[in-house]
């Protein structure tokens, strides 16, 4: 007896059907994402390399320390030296666009998952599928729906990179100590206030770890997405492979690694206190100080 479940046929039929019937909607999505990505790209390209490198180095100095700032500057200068600056910025804007979309969808999804275990049970297998399906498989329908270029690349990247931020948002929210939740409720929080003022801030380290993972996965996917014309450093690597040019491939790969290390460290540092304790950067503390100072001087004023 022979079995023949043509799931493959069903999948391609589904893609055909979507293409035939929802093509206007797909176009709208493509346009929105296209504008978004183009905006980010032109914004990042508008800065000269020197300005960009200085900003990154200063940010690294504030969040992490002078050693990493120096490393950042040197590594980015190396990219400029290799002549890959334009490609790097392209890749960076793809990653930023994809991550922004993944976060915009992923965090609300994570909140839903944390709130109800039924939703969680529904979403979890979907996340498993998104995460484990070989990345190349997304590329085919993405290209069919949205053509070649940056947009299908971003969409495939969003799908591939979204699961960590969803999972870690849900995990972070669920791990908030019951006593904090009780405290919030006891002081009269509405559901919304409880989420925004108690649970979300306390889950922030976990959520930021999710964002970090999403960025890292996004970067790896963006390189693959160059196969459908997303552009950027992936193109350099791809050209290197096609021409069997080991040197070019290595240069492209090195630029990806540099970008990855910088993005990883900088996003990780966001969930920790800054290394430079510059008072300007923590407004809450300043305000509390001022109020305390006012209180101390107030009696003197009234006395005089």
């Amino acid at each position: 007896m022979e079995y023949d479940f043509s799931i493959g046929a069903a999948a391609s039929a589904a893609v055909e059907y979507t293409l035939d019937n929802f093509s206007p909607m797909l176009d709208v999505i493509a346009d929105v994402i296209g504008y978004f990505a183009a905006g980010i790209k032109s914004g990042l390209s508008w800065l000269s390399p020197w300005a960009f490198i200085s900003i990154i180095a200063l940010f690294a100095l504030w969040r992490i320390g002078w050693k990493f700032a120096v490393l950042c500057g040197a590594a980015l200068l190396l990219i400029v030296g290799m002549g890959l600056w334009k490609e790097t910025i392209e890749t960076l804007s793809l990653v930023v666009a994809a991550t922004a979309i993944a976060i915009m969808i992923g965090i609300p999804l994570g909140i839903l998952m944390a709130r109800s275990s039924i939703t969680g049970a529904g979403i979890r297998p979907l996340l498993d599928l998104m995460q484990t399906m070989p990345a190349f498989v997304y590329l085919i329908p993405a290209a069919m729906f949205f053509g070649l270029g940056a947009v299908p690349g971003i969409i495939a990247t969003v799908i591939f990179s979204m699961p960590p931020v969803v999972r870690l948002t849900a995990l972070g929210l669920r791990q908030v100590n019951r006593e904090f939740v009780e405290a919030g409720l006891a002081f009269g929080c509405t559901d919304r206030q409880l989420l925004l003022k108690v649970q979300f801030p306390l889950a922030l380290p976990s959520i930021m770890a999710g964002v970090n993972q999403t960025i890292m996965l996004g970067l790896s996917m963006v390189v693959i997405a160059s196969m459908i014309g997303a552009g950027g450093l992936g193109n350099t690597v791809l050209t290197g492979i096609q021409r069997l040019d080991v040197g070019l491939g290595f240069e492209g790969g090195l630029a990806v690694v540099i970008l990855a290390v910088i993005l990883d460290r900088l996003t990780q540092s966001l969930s920790r206190p800054a290394s430079l304790k510059i008072a300007v950067f923590s407004p809450g503390r300043i305000r509390a100080r001022q109020d305390a100072a006012q209180l101390e001087t107030a009696p003197i004023k009234t006395g005089a």
Binding site: E182, F187, R287, D291, A292
Partner: protein, 413 residues
């Protein structure tokens, strides 16, 4: 059962303040089959039977009492007795399964979600065992939390929160983060947060239990001081007897979810409702509980009765230790008698064969170590000397002096 609740107040004089919080037949059953569990309890089945039958846990079993305005009402019980659950029923952090709870005549149990939120913001604040201060906020922002939630403008809420921090002596730390404070200071912030929105009711869940004893006593004083300055109704959950006795105007004792007794500390000590309640207060009536052997001190000189002993050496030892009396024991520590320096000198002068036996003080009768302190009190009080204590085999255990007796009794106060 409703009468039960009323009885608690009817014991008081007519001009007593009004009931702030009233609980009538409140039940809390945890588990999916709560309604069946309630029926079983009402049919008089035991807690264990209900639990094995329905797999439900009974948190609070038919609680009826009232709390008067301005009093500190301590809910006491062992862990698992349902006292924290009971506290959370009052602001419905835990939903009661059955029964009604009234605050200022309003029925909390039938309130809509919005009314409940309003009640929590305006009338009730809570202080938690492990402080529950938000680590991402400064001390000031923590103290202002309740006001922020209630929608008070920033300048206004910071002013009020700072004032609350001032009342607990922490205004200087307004800009610090909770991590930078000690346990006692953290709980002061917790207290300030609860006081900032000027509630009429404070719910305190084992609020001082996580603090070490010295700080705990300090915080109790602080609470009493705050209460004296500005009276609120405080429901204080505690498992600590000393704490309950110290701060409680009235105490409710819980056992397995049942409120077994409500009364002033004195009422509960004098007439405990059952052995469970009595067990809490066992240490209080030292005179009944302690045996003579427990408080006997081995502080007197013992002289061993043997042939050829030198009375002069004994006198010298007594002089050296500045003691008026000494205990004479046999080699096997069996009590023989008590001598004083005076009687010993007299015996030596009389020149008898056995100076010790001649010198024994006649009116000293040793006390049995098993006798309760209450039984021997008169004997010790009436004796000129410390009274020796012997065990059932007649061996010397120690002596009880008037001062050591008084010190023991003083611990009961």
């Amino acid at each position: 059962m409703i009468q039960n609740g009323d009885n608690v107040c009817s014991g008081k004089a007519a001009n007593q303040p009004a009931d702030k919080i009233v609980l009538r037949n409140v039940f809390k059953v945890f588990g999916s089959d709560a309604s069946r569990a309630i029926k079983m309890i009402q049919a008089g089945q035991s807690k264990d039977a209900v639990q094995t039958e329905t797999r439900c846990t009974i948190g609070v079993n038919n609680a009826s009492f009232s709390v008067q305005e301005g009093e500190i009402f301590v809910v006491m019980g062992l862990s698992g007795s349902g006292k924290s659950t009971l506290l959370r029923l009052l602001n419905r952090l835990i939903e009661p399964t059955l029964g009604s709870i009234l605050v200022d005549g309003q029925t909390v149990t039938s309130m809509s979600k919005l009314d409940l939120i309003e009640l929590r913001r305006r009338d009730m604040s809570m202080v938690f065992q492990n402080f529950a201060l938000l680590p991402n906020r400064t001390v000031l922002a923590n103290a202002a939390f309740g006001l922020e939630i209630a929608g008070v403008r920033e300048t206004e809420r910071n002013r009020k929160a700072l004032h609350a921090l001032e009342t607990v002596g922490l205004a200087r730390y307004a800009a610090s983060y909770p991590d930078e404070l000690s346990g006692g200071m953290k709980q002061r912030v917790g207290l300030a947060r609860a006081l900032a929105n000027e509630p009429t009711i404070l719910l305190m869940d084992e609020a001082f239990s996580a603090l070490d004893p010295l700080i705990r006593a300090e915080m109790q004083d602080e609470l009493l001081r705050l209460q004296a300055e500005n009276s609120r109704t405080i429901i204080f959950v505690s498992h600590d007897l000393d704490e309950a006795m110290r701060i409680g105007d009235r105490i409710a004792i819980m056992q397995d979810g049942v409120v077994v007794q409500v009364g002033t500390p004195e009422e509960i000590v004098i007439s405990p409702a059952n052995d469970y309640v009595r067990s809490f207060f066992r240490n209080v009536d030292v005179a009944q509980v302690f045996r003579a052997g427990d408080i006997a001190r081995h502080s007197q000189i013992t002289l061993i009765d043997r042939a050829g002993l030198s009375v002069n050496a004994a006198l010298e030892r007594m002089r050296a230790h500045d003691r008026d009396v000494a205990i004479v024991v046999a080699r096997d520590k069996r009590y023989q008698g008590m001598v004083s320096a005076e009687s010993l000198n007299d015996a030596v002068r009389a020149g008898g064969q056995d100076p010790y036996r001649q010198a024994f003080l006649p009116d000293i009768v040793p006390i049995e170590a098993n006798a309760s302190v209450a039984q021997v009190m008169g004997c010790v009080a009436g004796s000129r000397w410390p009274v020796p204590v012997v065990d059932p085999d007649g061996r010397y255990v120690g002596t009880i002096s008037k001062s050591s007796l008084l010190m023991t009794l003083d611990r009961a106060a």
